[in-house]
Symmetry: C2
Subunit: 319 residues, 2 copies
């Protein structure tokens, strides 16, 4: 009765899953992430939870092929080392795979949370198992994951899929956390939407958002709602966000030519009002053979994407 274990470790909770070797999800649950004492109990808590749930679900250590782990920070994939994760209070390089293997006696594989989510969506979610898929996650920042030939692309330094740092704002108006200007993240994340709303405010048009902008309390959610109510400023910001995303997708198409662009993250809850505008801007600026049959779709697995992808890594590299 072979099993694959998976955990997607976030700053608040760890999503946990038990899979068959065919990657059917048998059980899932969550545990709180204990970030106290420098996050020193996080891996132990995950291991203990897999053990106690294992008792309930009738599997034991000998049944487990491997454990896949998603972590919120940059990962040296080949060596299973996380290069710090602020949200977990892990401030230094941490050999996650080796530490978890030592705790559990089970082989482990580790990747970045954006990557495991992309892999999960690729094989089980909106990617429908197609071998060439790119996920773009629009949240506080903009993350991404590139799957080609059914494998995640990490690149030589693990920076592949850093779609949030594609240069798309040619005027380079807003400062990015990375130290550059003009990155997709400065114009398409939740912060980016605020950047644009403030930038275009005061162009003489009335807007439902003026009070919130004046008070400094405007949020991405408010901007999207204003757009859905037909507000001129809200619509302009959403259209600009979509245009910048379209520039990024155009670049990616000429490099890896994916079948699906999967849009996820909080900003993607804007839904059709956003994806319709991305479509509108994407095709006119893209090399025709590189957009033919390419579809822009919404993520489907929500919070389960990470555990699916982490389990898939076990299947690809440890089974």
């Amino acid at each position: 009765m072979d099993r694959i274990l998976a955990s997607d470790i976030g700053g608040t909770t760890c999503k946990m899953g038990v899979f068959t070797p065919e990657l059917e999800l048998l059980h899932k649950w969550e545990i709180p992430t204990d970030t106290s004492d420098g996050g020193s109990r996080i891996l132990e808590n995950i291991h203990q939870s897999f053990q106690s749930e294992g008792g309930k679900f009738g599997y034991s250590r000998e049944d487990v092929i491997g454990t896949g782990l998603g972590v919120p920070g940059p990962v040296d994939f080949n060596n299973g080392i996380l290069n710090g994760a602020i949200n977990l209070n892990w401030t230094h390089r941490k050999p996650i795979a080796a530490e978890f293997e030592a705790l559990s006696g089970i082989r482990a594989i580790v990747d970045n949370d954006a990557n495991v989510a992309a892999l999960g969506e690729q094989f089980k979610g909106a990617g429908m198992g197609h071998k060439d898929v790119v996920m773009v996650t629009l949240g506080t920042g903009v993350g991404g994951g590139v799957v080609s030939n059914s494998l995640l692309i990490h690149g030589h330094g693990g920076a592949a899929g850093e779609i949030g740092h594609l240069l798309v704002d040619y005027e380079q108006r807003f400062q990015c956390n990375c130290g550059k200007k003009g990155c997709l993240e400065t114009v398409a994340s939740a912060t980016g939407m605020k950047n644009l709303a403030l930038h275009y405010y005061g162009d003489g048009k009335d807007t439902l958002l003026s009070q919130e902008i004046e008070n400094g309390t405007v949020s991405a959610k408010m901007i999207v709602e204003a757009a859905q109510d037909g507000d001129v400023l809200g619509l302009r910001v959403v259209d600009e966000v979509a245009r910048y995303i379209a520039i990024a997708l155009s670049h990616i198409s000429a490099v890896t030519n994916p079948k699906y662009f999967i849009i996820g993250g909080g900003v993607s809850r804007a839904g059709r009002i956003l994806t319709d505008r991305i479509e509108h801007h994407y095709r006119p600026i893209t090399f025709p053979p590189a957009y033919e049959n390419t579809e822009i779709v919404m993520a489907e697995l929500g919070n389960d994407a990470g555990i699916y992808g982490a389990a898939r890594l076990v299947r690809q590299y440890l089974a």
Copy 2:
């Protein structure tokens, strides 16, 4: 005595090679490409040449693991079908792999010439066997090949690596053959250099190129030579070409994060005067983790890159 055969089919000659299973090149030669009668004899001539050379080199059909073929046109890689090649007078879809297998009784694998050259440089040339490498070929057009996880990326429609059609000229001044404007090919190919020279000519500065520009006979080679002689217009054009290439490399870095960018093709003969300027422009606009340890290098295998890559495909997919 196992052998791998490879041919890189060009409009003038076919490069031919015989390799060991470890991909050591034992023998190479060329035969003319007979494009008459709709190129109907090209594959037969390649097969015959492998047979007659086989007699000399002491291998027979039973020794051959497979044949790798590079072709100058878009390829449906999974099915071994070429979607036309103007330079060979092949005007329609042509099932190259199946036709060559029928002729030879040996399994065959087919890919685009830019892709096989990239794969050859990746494993045997300037890529030094690193698993993440991108080749950019600057010739009459701009081609490319993306290798990640040691595999060529084709994408769902075979348009991966179409680096010549990355949007880099934000002013979109010059028309591309693809129907769009602003593509890298319009500002970094031999034609692109001429576009820029004509565009910047007449800005009031003296130039060694004025006669040739006025006569309409200026070439990329002349522009590079003028730059090497310190000509203001020549230097400006080379610097602009380098800046546009740098924008493309910046985008690619955030998507697949290669260790090496390998620059090949006729325009690359400009050498250091070009690559120094690419370096100069590339790093300031690129996400730092995505350029760290990335190197921009010149291609090393010249005309042999294609046969090395074609042989490598046999090793990866048929052995």
